[in-house]
Symmetry: C2
Subunit: 392 residues, 2 copies
């Protein structure tokens, strides 16, 4: 396979690619942002670039004026690189707004903490809890097994009739309880009606600053993550970025079509990598150990949550518009490639339907609309918009 | 590291090993059976072998007569190979009885089928069930998601309020239901109070000959496996073998001590490999697809079940005699290395205590002792013995 090299200005980044690939594809491969709504079909005209030199082959388009073409303009999605090519991405096509948005969003969300603390009408009941336990040492009279001893102690504090424990945790249990002189911290996660003993650690790890969760808004355009101390319910910090699925299509339907053609893997990897980057920034800035991040709750439209979980979204856009799942189960975050505690849980907010997603569920919950006496309207103005009208 | 080669007669098997290893260790490495109760401590005197030639270094022992030593006898566990050695394993030290036992046991267990069919006072309610479902196709009026559509249909037949599904099964769901025109077989396993949707297959796989389980008696000396058709509760075939942990010590305590010194991995691998061999023999003889073997229920003493699950048994033998778990959760058989359907479940019978195991639980259940009016005695004569006295 013959290779070409394309240099993208103003940054001067060089990307090697297969000869005959489009400039949009090559930019995507190199992680370089070029605006595109139609996902590469030559319809939207957003991916305008300027060819500074090199051999290219461009399909004819009515979206550029003759004058523009003479000045070197081309649609990145309709232009194939045949040799060493130099491309300038003009300001309107660049993701420069992105960095600004990230900073502004982060500022804006940081400014919200005080408010959310005051407005806390939620009962503090996180998905994953840590519980410090001092187990009575076994004797000939009280010779319960390690597992049953731990369960008995947990049930003194919490009403958890059904408890599960993975084999790996069970295998480590005898050593952990004895090494810590029977003083351990149990991490308990809720999974579809049962409680899973996610991990057992020596000593006390249940206080503030020892158990963190992330609330992530997986938007079609932007992704925003809040870091929350699960012992206190306090939001510590927030971070935002553009959704890296943007080059696959700015609009939800385009991304579904892309997934149908090319598989959902690239879209899944893009959003997983965005979330991992946000987590990485949040934990390093706040000196949080990744091991202490035990849960991740994501809200987003039905398509975004499908792509995040690696669920086929293709039936969402075709009558009768059927999701794979409206209430996906809590899964281990690691199964999806999210890097928090390896045994931590990822919960996606339940979707209402194919085109009314878990972001709306989250909005109804967060605004308290479902508790209000009078008819209230909730409007989500996103890449796509939804309106909810209702009361208690 | 210098190597030596030891040839074991009468079979003439050659084993390469590290210079200075004992003949017992070398035999074990080569999978050759040499009797041993003490597990290599030079106490029991069972591992008698005859040195036919080569350079060895033997520790003095009072367990052999002067005459025996002159005739070449040595204790395999006290004799190190220093060069090319030829060893004869005399009949009393060999596992020749093993093959005979296997055949006799298999015959004996086969003869029991008719009886167990008549005595079926158990309600037919296997741990893993298959259910054939013809789902209504989605319409604009009935636009439930794939997962919720499947759950709704299952709940028409079974009372399963809590249902879980792994991410991988969920990911495969849209394709499976559509490829099979909404006619699918759901495999449902019980896991600690909840029901797990283990797999979804296209078409009808719920009839006789499509869902198999194994009932395995994990004895200290012998391992016996029964193949059961879970659609009919009928036992199809049985197979038995010696427990390959024997070279690590004939007696339970010796094996615990071995695990403390060398780790439990070799003991775990030995029993897992025995069970896999039995399964392999049973499925090939009965032309059963491994994919259709969905569950494995094991009974055994507490130590055997610990070693099978890879749970530390060392506290079982020291006061106050604490197991890691008396009621281990159902785990995925693959987690333990058991080769049935990769998503199939392994359930170990609950133990009563450290020295009264899940084999006794199974015995009380199988004999119906717990339902009897009069005081009844149940005696398990195994490598270790237990007696249960009780009634309803």
């Amino acid at each position: 396979m013959k290779k070409v090299r394309v240099t993208f200005y103003p940054e001067g980044e060089r990307v090697e690619a297969r000869r005959g690939a489009t400039l949009l594809e090559i930019a995507k491969e190199g992680g370089i942002f070029i605006a595109s709504i139609c996902g590469g079909d030559g319809i939207c005209g957003r991916c305008r670039v300027i060819i500074k030199g090199g051999e290219v082959e461009a399909a004819p388009t009515t979206l550029l004026t003759r004058e523009e073409i003479q000045r070197g303009y081309a649609l990145a999605c309709q232009t194939k690189a045949l040799g060493e090519v130099e491309v300038l991405i003009p300001p309107e096509t660049r993701a420069e707004g992105a960095q600004i948005l990230i900073d502004e969003d982060a500022q804006r969300f940081r400014a919200l903490y005080a408010v959310s603390e005051e407005q806390a009408f939620f009962r503090h009941d996180p998905l994953v809890k840590k519980l410090y336990l001092e187990l009575p040492r076994p004797t000939l009279q009280d010779n319960l097994a390690d597992q049953e001893r731990l369960f008995r102690e947990i049930r003194r504090y919490l009403n958890v009739p059904l408890m599960q424990m993975g084999l790996k945790v069970l295998q480590s249990l005898p050593e952990v309880v004895r090494r810590s002189d029977w003083k351990v911290t149990a991490t308990l996660g809720r999974r579809g009606g049962t409680t899973e003993l996610i991990q057992v650690e020596p000593g006390d790890r249940a206080g503030a600053g020892r158990n963190f969760g992330l609330a992530v808004d997986v938007g079609t355009s932007t992704v925003v993550a809040h870091l929350v101390d699960l012992a206190t319910s306090q939001t510590i910090d927030a971070e935002a970025c553009y959704n890296s699925q943007l080059p696959f299509g700015e609009e939800v339907t385009r991304r579904i079509i892309y997934a149908e053609r090319e598989g959902l893997k690239p879209l899944n990897e893009a959003i997983v990598s965005d979330i991992n980057n946000l987590i990485s920034a949040l934990v390093s800035r706040n000196r949080v150990e990744l091991h202490d991040v035990t849960t991740l709750v994501c809200a987003g439209n039905t398509t975004m949550l499908h792509l995040l979980l690696g669920l086929d979204p293709s039936h969402l856009r075709k009558s009768p518009y059927i999701p794979t799942a409206t209430t996906p189960p809590p899964v281990r975050a690691a199964e999806v490639g999210i890097k928090i505690n390896p045994r931590g849980l990822l919960y996606t907010m339940p979707n209402i339907g194919s085109w009314v997603g878990g972001d709306i569920t989250a909005g109804i919950l967060a605004t308290g609309l479902y508790q209000m006496e009078g008819l209230t309207m909730f409007i989500d103005i996103g890449t796509n918009g939804e309106i909810v009208l209702g009361n208690r």
